[in-house]
Amino acid sequence: MSTDFAPYLDDAPTRPYELSQLDVLESEAIHIFREVTAELERPVLLFSGGKDSVVMLHLAAKAFWPGKVPFPVLHVDTGHNFPEVLDYRDRTVERLGLTLVVAKVQDYIDDGRLAERADGTRNPLQTQPLLDAIAAGRYDAVYGGGRRDEEKARAKERIVSLRDEFGQWDPRNQRPELWDLYNARHRPGEHVRVFPLSNWTELEIWRYIERENIELPSLYYAHERDVFRRDGMWLSDSPVSRPREDEPVVRKVVRYRTVGDMSCTGAVESDADSVAKVIAEVAATTLTERGATRADDRLSEAAMEDRKKEGYF
């Protein structure tokens, strides 16, 4: 992520006093950050080092400039992270002078509060450490980088979304959300999840990354990696994601469209080694981001909805 906010190159509107698409989305996201931060006591931003949370942090920095981002960042560490992403996370937090809170799934497994799943994926195990960290930090607003275009349950999310004292989402009883007036009020014990990127698509995220010249972890760009095939995806050969006997390891040029848990996030074959090439690739793809790379969303037709109801982001 760069500290200077580079001007955008090719996003010219067609008539005077009209904002470009990216400017509209940026303006809306900044507005949301300022509203919720002004009204609530203890916001926190979920920051994983993934592209959406990197864009979130960039927008937050813009919203409160020349002040620092006025809230800490929280990372739920599955213990299966890509080392490049953890390195990026730490450098970014250091550069922006932020406080980083880390909730570790590994701690829960080590002391028996959570059990490793048979399929090895730890994404569903993040919910409890997340909810505990929210309770421990007494956070009343949790900023997340979720986008409605990602998944059909997420398409139903409000921008400011109430969670009850158990962290549960009730999709059948959401608050109406009117104009740009957000009601973030809640009762003691409840909190709100806030999604400033709700109306962005994957392509717009990438166009914004290009326009603002934002640095990302290197694994978003084409590189050589030892991978093996499972469930139609290329998984990284790593200490936390080992191939089975019938899964030969091959060296391929790949990149990641999302960066989550290494054990269930697949790479895509790609030679896109620059932002411009990634934009061209995303514009032409026939697979959604999650369909291409997230094994945990394939668990059932309502996997995301079910996890969100429990308190997942």
Partner: protein
């Protein structure tokens, strides 16, 4: 690159909204292979012969179980000419609040009418919502035209009925199109099967609608969201003394040197500079989020409104308003509520409930209470001065939420009719 158009769908149950949305996504090639695979797989599992496009949008377990849309889903699609944000709103009467949700930010509402049934109560209700919320454009898709053998007379009868209701509600920009969402007639392209229809296809209309108003003709309205005074928390030592007022321009244009007034205090000053992060702007306009610096050091807090000095709203404690009641518990006179308008939240009492809109006659009737989905006219007495103005003058400055002070939920969508109740016309529903 194109600009964004925000559209909301509306209509009764089973008039084919989900099919229309699926058709729009399909015809703009916005459905990716894995999504289509999932739809085909689930359709097969249910014993359907074709792919049920409604499965694309009905994302909740309960929706798929019941085959209905419960909550607004937001979809994104694009043509070479424009990008769209689509709020796919449910048709069931108990979910009308979600239609209000989807419509409040919409540039255009696409209302489906089944050509076999014509105008229903939900059609009237949704047209009333479009009128009250002043959605700039309304497109009526008269659907299932294939089921009446593309008969012109049937379409014309429905069109006449629609135009009668729309005129009664004061809707101006209304386009009526015969379509078949299932087959794709007049959706992306004009159909050969309706030679008697000379107008544009739905997608053509959507591609050509202008978005937003030209802000250069409006006076400045800038609700102060956040005061930025970093002091020791500055990213750079040079900004230790920085003092800026952050917000999103609700209306108008602002330039350095402009004379402004701060409401409700009434203090005046001039704009010293406009910042968008570390970039200084020569001018800014709605709906940009920026930070204003002023020449004078005056006391300004979140909730204040910065406005053009020579054309500003008069702060008031009495407001006459229309409300869409969105809560399960009814509204009675004397209720204590919170009014959220711009960045300001004030306590209020519902001093009187003047009328409830009768959806059949489209006139106000006396009422003792407002229930879920009712549209009513109320008089609010506020605990503090609110610089607001009629919604007809500003879709942002005249809009408010009613919030439950105890339970914290959102009770109603409100629109200011008059900030000076003694001058208002009690019978006027068209604001």
């Amino acid at each position: 690159m194109s600009t964004l158009l925000r559209l909301a769908t509306a209509g009764s149950v089973d008039d084919g909204k989900s099919t229309l949305v699926g058709r729009l996504l399909h015809d703009t090639k916005s459905i990716l292979a894995d999504q289509m695979d999932a739809v085909e797989r689930v359709s097969r599992e249910r014993g359907l012969t074709g792919a049920d496009l409604a499965l694309l949008t009905d994302g909740l377990r309960a929706e798929r179980e019941q085959g209905i849309t419960i909550d607004v889903a937001y979809r994104y699609f694009a043509t070479p000419r424009r990008s769209f944000i689509l709020a796919d709103c449910p048709g069931h009467v108990q979910y009308t609040r979600n239609t209000v949700t989807g419509s409040s930010t919409a540039d255009v509402i696409v209302l489906l009418v089944d050509v076999r049934h014509g105008v229903l109560e939900q059609t009237r209700r949704h047209l009333a919502v479009a009128s009250l919320l002043r959605v700039p454009h309304v497109v009526i898709a008269v659907n299932k035209i294939d089921l009446v053998d593309y008969d012109e007379a049937t379409f014309r009868a429905v069109e006449t009925e629609i135009r009668h209701v729309a005129d009664g509600l004061g809707l101006i920009d209304v386009t009526v199109i015969p379509v078949s969402a299932l087959i794709g007639d007049n959706i992306a392209d004009r159909s050969d099967l309706t030679p008697w229809y000379s107008g544009p296809a739905l997608l053509e209309v959507l591609e050509e609608l202008p978005t937003g108003d030209d802000p250069s003709h409006q006076p400045l309205r800038f609700p102060v969201q956040y005061v930025i005074r970093p002091q020791s928390g500055a990213v750079d030592e040079r900004y230790r003394e920085y003092r800026g007022y952050a917000g999103r321009i609700a209306a108008g244009v602002v330039r350095p040197g402009d004379e402004i007034i701060v409401l409700p205090s009434g203090k005046r000053s001039r704009v010293a500079g406009i910042d968008l992060a570390d970039k200084e702007l020569d001018e800014a306009y709605a709906p940009q989020s920026v930070t204003l610096r002023l020449i004078d050091e005056i006391d300004i807090a979140r909730g204040d409104l910065i406005a053009t000095a020579e054309d500003s709203p008069r702060p008031t404690r009495d407001v006459d308003a229309l409300v869409c009641w969105l809560a399960e518990r009814p509204l009675h006179e004397g209720a204590r509520v919170l009014v959220k308008n711009g960045a300001r939240t004030v306590q209020a009492i519902v001093r009187s409930l003047d009328a409830k809109l009768d959806l059949d006659t489209l006139v106000g009737q006396p009422a003792e209470r407002l229930e879920l989905n009712d549209i009513g006219r109320v008089r609010l007495h506020l605990a503090a001065d609110l610089p607001t103005e009629p919604y007809a003058r500003g879709r942002h400055t005249g809009a408010f939420l009613l919030v439950d002070p105890q339970q914290a939920g959102t009770l109603a969508a409100g629109m200011v009719v008059s900030a000076d109740p003694d001058s208002g016309d009690d019978t006027d529903w068209v604001i």
